[in-house]
């Protein structure tokens, strides 16, 4: 029991030390950044599977940093939800890394890119795994600062503008979060999330908790790009290099925004009817506005960025309904969205890599020139629009069924409408870019390098077989524990405190 908790800090230590190693030797020794980064990302990806196994066989695991006993010291907690997020994040990060090792050849100073990339991964893993609310804030900033720098990585004027916008809005969100933490600390005199949950349960619900909830919705909603706070996303995501767009859209907004909101509202503060109404309403708003904005776009990556807003809306709708089925569906959709949105961004990157443009009107007939990109893009598009048998269909169907079962017919209706519009906008991408006649810009393009194809095909395969996660056996290992963590709410505190007392 004692030894097994030692696996927990490695999720942060491996990418962090790899980042430092690359930044020290990467400039002088060629080839080191690729090898070190590859080993680190693959290692963490496999390690997260070990973590999943450990949670399934041992239950909630707690590691106390520096042997200071929580709640005084900082605790790292690995439970069902954390393990689920770790697998999602690190799997996608590994595949994106493969892709970017070829894609980034055209940029100068690749090693700087990998250093920031791994820092971002360390930050995200830290957010997911920590059990201390201030520690969470620190890791969130690590990931976010690496994110600003990566958005500006191409050093062109609109990239600086996007990065600046992202940085200012994100810093503002962070301030809200920090103020919320200050209030919670003054109310409960602890920073440990499990301890905080236990204390809040005993106190009567008051105005303060509601105020803190609103601060957190604003702060983390900004990171998750919920609709009133989404303005940075459609600028920042298209401006970044393609692998980073995939990282931001695929996993960063989820681990920094959605995961933290889940953890705080379900496990620490407790869901109140007001908060779940906010979740459902903003979720539906994001869903509809995101997709409406996406339909009119002619820039592929901008179109995809608006779809991120829209799909995040689905996840929040599922979380807001709050029944076991809907939370299950929301988490399932979170996993699926990570996979297919990364895939679509990587495909958009491949198009840009081969043709040098992202403007749909200048493209055409790419299916004949780039069959792998075309096929994987088609699979991703089908998955995001919810066409059976691809993965997106099952999770969207479950969210809509859950909404109907809970009697929220209007929300279900809007979810269906948004899904149809998604299909329409992706048909547009396919029609302009891949089908039709070959035009001037696409006359002599070649398929992208093999390594990039491998990453895209792997993600496409996960999209096709993602529906298999509904099978009971896989489901029991992967999604069920995560769902139970959220549904059982305050049991989280009890479980973690029990593990702490065993240390």
């Amino acid at each position: 029991m004692r030894e097994i908790t030692n696996i927990i800090p490695l999720f942060i230590v491996i990418p962090l030390s790899a980042a430092f190693l690359i930044s020290i030797v990467g400039k002088s020794v060629k080839g080191v950044p690729d090898i070190v980064g590859f080993v680190a990302t693959l290692g963490v990806c496999l390690w997260s599977l070990v973590g999943l196994w450990a949670v399934n066989s041992y239950g909630v695991l707690v590691y106390s940093v520096g042997a200071w006993k929580p709640p005084i010291g900082i605790a790292l907690v690995l439970d069902g939800l954390s393990a689920f997020m770790l697998v999602t994040v690190n799997l996608v990060v590994f595949l994106i890394f493969l892709y970017s090792s070829a894609y980034m050849e055209r940029y100068t100073s690749k090693w700087k890119f990998f250093t920031l990339f791994l820092l971002m991964q360390a930050g995200m893993n830290g957010v997911v795994i920590t059990g201390d609310i201030f520690n969470l804030y620190v890791f969130m900033e690590i990931a976010a600062i690496a994110g600003f720098a990566l958005v500006a990585f191409g050093v062109e004027r609109h990239q600086f503008e996007a990065a600046f916008k992202y940085a200012v809005m994100s810093a503002l969100g962070t301030l809200f979060v920090f103020l919320g933490i200050a209030f919670l600390y003054s109310f409960t005199s602890t920073l440990n999330m499990a301890d905080m949950g236990a204390i809040l349960m005993q106190k009567p619900p008051g105005k303060l908790v509601l105020f803190v909830s609103l601060l957190f919705v604003m702060g983390f909603g900004l990171k998750a790009a919920l609709v009133p706070f989404h303005a940075w996303l459609p600028d920042a995501h298209p401006s970044a290099p393609a692998p980073i767009s995939a990282m931001l859209s695929g996993v960063l907004i989820k681990s920094l925004g959605i995961y933290v909101l889940c953890r705080i509202f379900f496990n620490v503060i407790g869901m109140s009817p007001a908060v779940s109404t906010i979740f459902m309403f903003l979720g539906t708003l994001s869903m509809v506005i995101g997709v409406l904005a996406a339909v009119g776009q002619m820039d592929i990556k901008r179109l995809l960025a608006y779809h991120s807003v829209s799909q995040v809306g689905y996840i929040f709708l599922g979380l807001g309904i709050g029944t076991p089925l809907s939370v299950f569906a929301a988490l399932f959709h979170l996993f699926n969205h990570s996979v297919f949105k990364s895939l679509l961004f990587l495909d958009a990157g491949a198009i840009e890599y081969a043709t040098g443009t992202r403007d749909l009107q200048k493209l055409g007939g790419l299916m004949k020139r780039m069959p792998v990109t075309g096929a994987t893009n088609f699979i991703g598009a089908m998955a995001i629009s919810g066409i059976p048998p691809f993965s997106g269909f099952w999770s969207k169907l479950l969210i809509i069924i859950a909404a109907v079962v809970a009697g929220k017919f209007w929300y279900a209706f809007w979810a269906v409408v948004a899904s149809l519009l998604t299909l329409a906008s992706f048909m547009k991408v396919m029609k302009y870019a891949f089908w039709g006649e070959i035009v001037e810009t696409t006359a002599d393009v070649k398929e992208v390098p093999k390594v990039m194809q491998v990453a895209m095909v792997a993600l496409a395969l996960i999209c096709i077989f993602g529906g298999g996660l509904m099978l009971t056996r896989l489901n029991k290992m992967f999604l069920k524990p995560a769902m139970m963590t959220l549904i059982e709410g305050h049991k989280y505190s009890a479980e973690v405190l029990k593990s702490i007392s065993k240390l």
């Binding site: 201030f134 804030y137 620190v138 900033e141 600062i145 600003f148 720098a149 500006a152 050093v155 062109e156 004027r157 609109h158 600086f160 503008e161 996007a162 990065a163 600046f164 916008k165 940085a167 200012v168 810093a171 503002l172 962070t174 301030l175 920090f178 103020l179 200050a182 600390y185 003054s186 005199s189 920073l191 303005a231 940075w232 996303l233 459609p234 600028d235 401006s239």
Partner: protein, 86 residues
Amino acid sequence: MIIGLIIAEYAVNLFFVLIAYRIEGRAPIFAANQPVENMVDALPQAVVLTSIVIGLATTVLLIALAMRIYEQYGTLDVTKIRDLNG
């Protein structure tokens, strides 16, 4: 914009420190044999210290970005920096 952010950040930091203040409190440093009495809460001070460091990192990055924006656009007027319309 940057200065505004910095001011807001310091306001929150100060707020956090003041939460920890106890009336007639003293610094939380005691000799080994001294009785622990009426001290201010030490944890927020550590927390705020970390937060200041993070704020520094964010600010430095923001200023670096602003300088590059000035190089490229020739202005710092946000109403004129409008290549993108998110």
